[in-house]
């Protein structure tokens, strides 16, 4: 990029994050110099967002900036870490000042809210791609992993998973909510995921807007991750959907798992805007809200259940011989349990079952 473009970037990003005393040298040299406190392990995470893959073309710049940092902070939260420093690699097709200003506002507000300093990175010309790396710390040896769960551990989830997937479905079904002049066909092609449920035609605008906001501005669960570091046996952030990520946690822990469908926390907005079947599908398959899924050993269950913002949704079990054979087909490790009208419970494998099974 030409010098003028570097200067623009410099203008928007030099003071974008939080000031921190442990930044020895920040933006502007070949690298940053950072001073971790003694007795800590570093937590290093990296995630890249590509326009049209991870967010629809025409997304608000502030949302793109927020999400690029939020997905990384969520990974830090899943390790029980405290975030400190971020690097930003910004690949842009061209330099547009209003876009950069919005991006920096969204990125910076979230960074400052969590005390994260932006200490470096680089800018490049190309297809819109945002790479972010965050460095955090945990007390040495205390990082949360996916692999610590044991049979009998209870499963908890933060927040109300599924809202962001519903919000994305609303955005994809009504592209005018993002940017004028963008056709629905374009948007549907740009985020080439699964088929998405439609909102109820009579859904109230405030419910739709609440769900959209949950996609555009997800909340990384940093306080929950830190508070649960000493109580949980395993943790993962739900980026690929509750069933898929539970399968990964269970596989890493050498377990299988069961989810109680009636226990899944459904937000008022999701319940109001979608049919029960579509809402359930968002809760089980949606990952864009980046909630945390945790395994909690029995002695800690009462304390965790008393914490606000957490819901008990199932448990880990012994893996069957088939599970022990290999890690593939994560969903096969997860059973879905529902109570029938007669009070008995019925279980269905999550993998390959399709979601028609859960209706009625």
């Amino acid at each position: 990029m030409a010098l003028g473009e570097f200067e623009l970037i410099d203008r928007y990003f030099r003071d974008c994050g939080a000031p921190r005393a442990d930044v020895v040298l920040g933006v502007g040299d070949d690298g940053a110099l950072l001073r971790p406190p003694p007795g800590t392990d570093l937590v290093a995470v990296s995630d890249t967002l590509v326009e049209g893959v991870h967010f629809p073309v025409g997304s608000p710049a502030a949302s793109v900036g927020h999400r690029a940092l939020a997905v990384n902070l969520s990974d830090i939260a899943a390790m029980g870490g405290t975030p400190r420093w971020a690097l930003l690699s910004l690949t842009l097709p061209q330099v547009e000042e209003p876009w950069l200003e919005g991006f920096a506002q969204g990125f910076g507000a979230l960074a400052r809210a969590h005390g994260v300093a932006l200490v470096g990175g680089d800018t490049t010309r190309g297809a819109l791609t945002i790479g972010v790396q965050v460095l955090g710390t945990v007390p040495a040896g205390e990082g949360l992993r996916r692999s610590g769960g044991r049979p009998g551990d209870a499963l908890f989830v933060t927040g109300t998973p599924g809202d962001a997937a519903a919000g994305l479905a609303i955005i994809m079904g009504a592209p005018g909510t993002l940017a004028a002049g963008q056709g629905a066909a374009d948007l549907r092609r740009d985020v080439p995921d699964v088929a998405r449920p439609d909102a109820r035609p009579d859904a109230r605008p405030d419910a739709l807007e609440a769900l959209r906001q949950r996609f555009l501005f997800p909340t990384p669960r940093l306080a929950e991750g830190e508070a649960l570091r000493a109580r949980a046996s395993a943790c993962i952030d739900i980026s690929d959907g509750l069933v898929g990520d539970l399968g990964k946690l269970a596989a890493a822990s050498g377990c299988s798992a069961v989810l109680d469908l009636e226990a899944l926390p459904c937000s008022a907005a999701l319940a109001a805007a979608f049919t029960p079947e579509a809402a359930l599908r968002c809760m089980l398959e949606g990952g864009d809200d980046y909630e945390l899924l945790l395994a909690v050993p029995p002695p800690q269950v009462a304390a965790v259940a008393a914490m606000p913002g957490l819901t008990r949704i199932g448990e880990l079990r012994e893996a069957t011989a088939r599970h022990a054979a290999g890690p593939s087909s994560m969903g096969a490790r997860v059973m879905l349990r529902r109570r029938g009208a007669d009070g008995t419970s019925r279980e269905t494998p999550a993998a390959g079952a399709g979601f028609d099974h859960f209706a009625g």
Copy 2:
């Protein structure tokens, strides 16, 4: 990406780097857990390579892997750091096993040569873009910066700058050296830099090949950076060309600078394959070989001059009043000095002078 693609990535990258005892938890969780030694500052660097911008379309995969890591190791070297851990964000248009194998071979060989562990990252579908972050360490408070230079400090450079720029010019002028079926017009468009000098028509093939290799597989100067950490007052890696990066070092140090053109180290291959004018231009403008440029205070000059692989090429001076006014137009801080036939020396500003001035 589908699971099968994640598995492919996992196959090529899980054991790609060096094993390290300070990796508490590597690839495969939400983040990596790393244990820096007590009494150190972290050095954090990040650089992204985009196909068609930073390397020609059709570049060998092993070269792309090597360069993606090398440009980051060069930044670590410029801070006087020791590299430890790397993260890799790979955005690929499609998964091609031979390409991934070559990329991992190039990346992994350089990582293992410098004891760097690959501890995480992510994969995404999109235009070929490689983001790498490297974390290293320096003894606390001892990181080298651009800003420590003082008037009277001698300037040294590692290696023979300009070789890689010459190699790229050869590749761009003879695209068949990269990949069959790629037209010259395409390649010239894909790396939209400055006009490039042509090699002499009678240049020997071994000289051309040596220069090509310097572009495809540059050497990060880690040993030099570590050895000079205690002796140099300032350092920068030459990624944008000697004159431009000297301008940045001088500006950060509040100085101006002079380069002795006759002192610039020209490799035998560069001298053999290009005219003196073209070779000089490669040395002054080319940055792709990622040599280090260092300022050295007078008491350290004799010791540094005795180290192998370093050449004294000029000195820092007081900044003029015009320089003190602002950091723009970096090249204006740099004077080029050459000795005339009568033994007197003559100086020309580097910025805007054009390179015809240096001929004859």
